[in-house]
């Protein structure tokens, strides 16, 4: 009887100590507070804003409306979405076809060359995006470097006027986002079990059949992650379209920027952002469902 009481008392003290022990909650507080106040709350406000009415002159009026969303359905704006989507698809395909073989071959390099090559891919990624766009301006400019070279070797006889055109924007997009695709493909190829390919070859598959039946499937997570990492930013990179397209190419990003800075229609810009965000979240969600991976491969 006495010992039972004692053990119950002991249990009490144990619980008290157990609660007292974990003080680590204090260290996550900054992250919690910061995330709630400066990420979650602003996003919530974006949703709210997208249902408010635009004021006559400046600012917003607290009146509920669905107009902002209905406005998106206007052909002009729908067309922008279509064009953005097109651009994003072309960009993604471009990076995939150019980047996949590179990432794949990179993983097969000997160890020392591999890390050197890795460095070569990472450096442009770390360099200022604007600087790289500027480089393309110099190259594309009428009578610029590219024209001079092409005319010099006699391929063309007059300037191509590449700058401020759709292809220029596409090249800029592919160029900016290529490292994401390469790194994603690389990281999943690098982890691949090569004996599977050998097994396929052993079972009679040709080099190409083995590649299409085994390698592609094994590196699929990397491909998917690359697609996400390229597709999502390409919907919003307005400054590339701005600089290399010279206002001729209008993407959703440009539309939002215009609404914010010249149109001053914030609620409409908010609605556009919400649609874009829902769309991209859906893509990430599908990616997670499809691969079961939480973090995107090769992001860091």
């Amino acid at each position: 009887m006495l010992s039972r009481q004692a053990s119950q008392e002991a249990a009490h003290t144990v619980n008290a100590a157990g609660r007292k022990r974990n003080r680590w909650w204090m260290t996550v507080m900054p992250l919690y507070l910061f995330t709630i106040f400066f990420v979650a709350l602003p996003i919530v406000y974006l949703f709210v804003l997208s249902f408010l009415t635009r004021a006559q002159t400046w600012g917003v009026v607290n009146e509920f409306t669905l107009d902002n969303y209905l406005k998106i359905l206007k052909p002009v704006y729908l067309n922008t979405f279509k064009e953005s989507f097109q651009m994003a698809v072309l960009t993604t395909l471009g990076t995939l076809f150019i980047g996949y073989p590179f990432g794949y071959l990179m993983a097969k390099l000997p160890k020392k060359t591999k890390s050197l090559m890795m460095l070569c891919v990472v450096i442009p990624f770390w360099t200022s995006a604007l600087m790289r766009m500027y480089g393309w301006i110099i190259l594309f400019r009428s009578n610029g470097l590219l024209d001079k070279v092409l005319m010099g070797i006699g391929l063309t006889d007059s300037p191509l006027k590449l700058l401020y055109s759709y292809p220029a924007v596409l090249v800029g997009m592919v160029y900016s986002l290529l490292p994401f695709m390469i790194l994603s493909v690389y990281s999943s190829t690098d982890k691949m079990d090569w004996s599977l390919v050998e097994a396929a070859r052993d079972l009679g598959a040709t080099r190409w059949t083995a590649f299409f039946t085994v390698t592609i499937k094994m590196t699929l997570p990397g491909i998917l992650s690359g697609i996400i990492l390229v597709f999502i930013p390409s919907m919003g990179l307005f400054f590339i379209a701005d600089i290399l397209g010279g206002g001729k190419v209008m993407l959703v990003g440009n539309l939002i920027q215009n609404q914010l800075q010249s149109g001053r229609d914030w609620p409409f810009a908010a609605a556009l952002s919400v649609v874009l965000m829902v769309f991209t979240s859906m893509m990430i969600w599908i990616y997670r469902k499809a691969t079961g991976v939480k973090d995107l491969e090769g992001l860091l």
Binding site: S3, S7, A10, A16
Partner: protein
């Protein structure tokens, strides 16, 4: 070794989620003792150790260190040190700093600290290795550093969690001897965890055989080996044959057990000894299990008073010849002999029996932690 109790566990229980890992274990350990918790993985031995170290808190029950209740104290508040399974050497500190870490926390003066660390390095035969980084050491050397790092603090109890598990066989044997030497020299109480019966039998003063969160048996290596109290302990330590039968008569210290190898076949009478408190627990007609170690099974070619069995195969391993016998309904029995030469061939019929003192009645009293309360356990160990 004195008779003073240094550490006492009373009725400890611990659950993780829905699984109860410790089912009310009690144990008292004497100052200077080398005690081994022996059991298969998942039996709760590591949890027991972590509770003693303060890395886990038990759901119920208490831990007493030198008579004081330390159940809820943090690991840094009790004078107990641990040698971790994977050594857990700090990779960013050199050997000297690793060993000195505990002393630094206790603010031991620099000169004394250096002196004590050097002394420890000498003790574990690593003099001159102070400036090496852990990554530059071999497995055996890391092991020694881990021991030195714990021992330098003069703990009242040293906990060792399968410290030799990662080493190869030869090194393990060598380290066994060395550990025992260190323990003898420093007179520190060792609580040692292993699943290796050889280690346990070699080094321990006492062995606690653990199974599913309880102690099956606590006793000296001799007791555990020759007088297993349960069939689990019998099977876990050494190679034992567990033979079921029925007691036909009792003569003094010897019980004669009817054993048969087939459902309808005739029973053979084989002996088992009755020890101590078992006398009051056995009576004729009772169903019992007799444990006989494989080296104690006597074999002869001529028919006799034992079990008549066929030899299945012979197997030579580790200096011993193992002879497998077809025991019919008893299952496969095994006998072992020194050396490779044995006159029996596969397929041959042999007669098997054993001396009365080699037959041990098991599973009569339940396990050590079930049968007796903590008070009783304490009393018996004090005696």
């Amino acid at each position: 070794m004195s008779n003073e109790t240094i550490l006492e566990l009373k009725n400890i229980t611990k659950s993780f989620g829905d699984t109860q890992v410790l089912k009310g274990i009690s144990l008292s350990i004497r100052q200077g003792e080398f005690i081994t918790l022996l059991g298969a993985s998942g039996c709760g031995k590591t949890t027991t150790l972590r509770i003693i170290a303060g890395l886990e808190t038990p759901d119920n029950g208490n831990v007493y260190l030198n008579g004081t209740d330390v159940t809820t104290l943090q690991p840094n508040e009790r004078n107990v040190n641990t040698v971790f399974q994977n050594y857990a050497l700090f990779p960013h500190m050199n050997v000297f700093s690793n060993i000195a870490y505990g002393l630094k926390l206790k603010k031991v003066p620099k000169q004394e600290m250096t002196h004590r660390v050097e002394e420890m390095l000498e003790l574990v035969q690593l003099a001159g290795y102070g400036t090496r980084m852990p990554s530059e050491l071999s497995g055996g050397q890391r092991q020694r550093v881990a021991i030195a790092r714990a021992v330098v603090n003069n703990p009242q109890v040293l906990l060792l969690d399968e410290p030799l598990g990662a080493l190869d066989l030869q090194l393990r044997r060598q380290m066994q001897i060395e550990l025992k030497r260190i323990q003898k020299r420093l007179q520190i109480t060792f609580i040692y965890i292993t699943h290796d019966q050889e280690e346990a039998l070699n080094m321990s003063d006492r062995i606690a055989v653990m199974n599913q969160g309880t102690f099956e048996q606590i006793g000296t290596p001799n007791e555990v080996y020759y007088h297993p109290r349960t069939s689990y302990a019998a099977r876990f330590v050494g190679t034992a044959n567990l033979i079921p039968g029925r007691i036909s008569r009792i003569e003094g210290q010897t019980a004669f057990v009817d054993v048969s190898c087939s459902a309808a076949g005739p029973a053979v009478q084989l002996p088992a000894c009755i020890t101590g408190r078992q006398a009051s627990l056995v009576r004729p007609g009772q169903a019992v299990t007799v444990s006989v170690k494989s080296e104690n099974i006597r074999l002869q070619k001529e028919p006799g008073s034992g079990l008549r069995l066929a030899v299945i195969e012979k197997n030579f391993a580790g200096g011993m010849l193992r002879i497998s016998l077809d025991g019919g309904t008893l299952g496969e029995l095994s006998a072992s002999r020194q050396g490779i030469d044995a006159a029996f061939e596969a397929g041959e019929m042999v007669t098997a029996d054993w001396e009365p003192e080699h037959g041990v009645l098991v599973d009569l009293e339940g396990t050590d932690s079930q049968s007796r309360g903590p008070a009783a356990a304490g009393r018996e160990q004090d005696a």
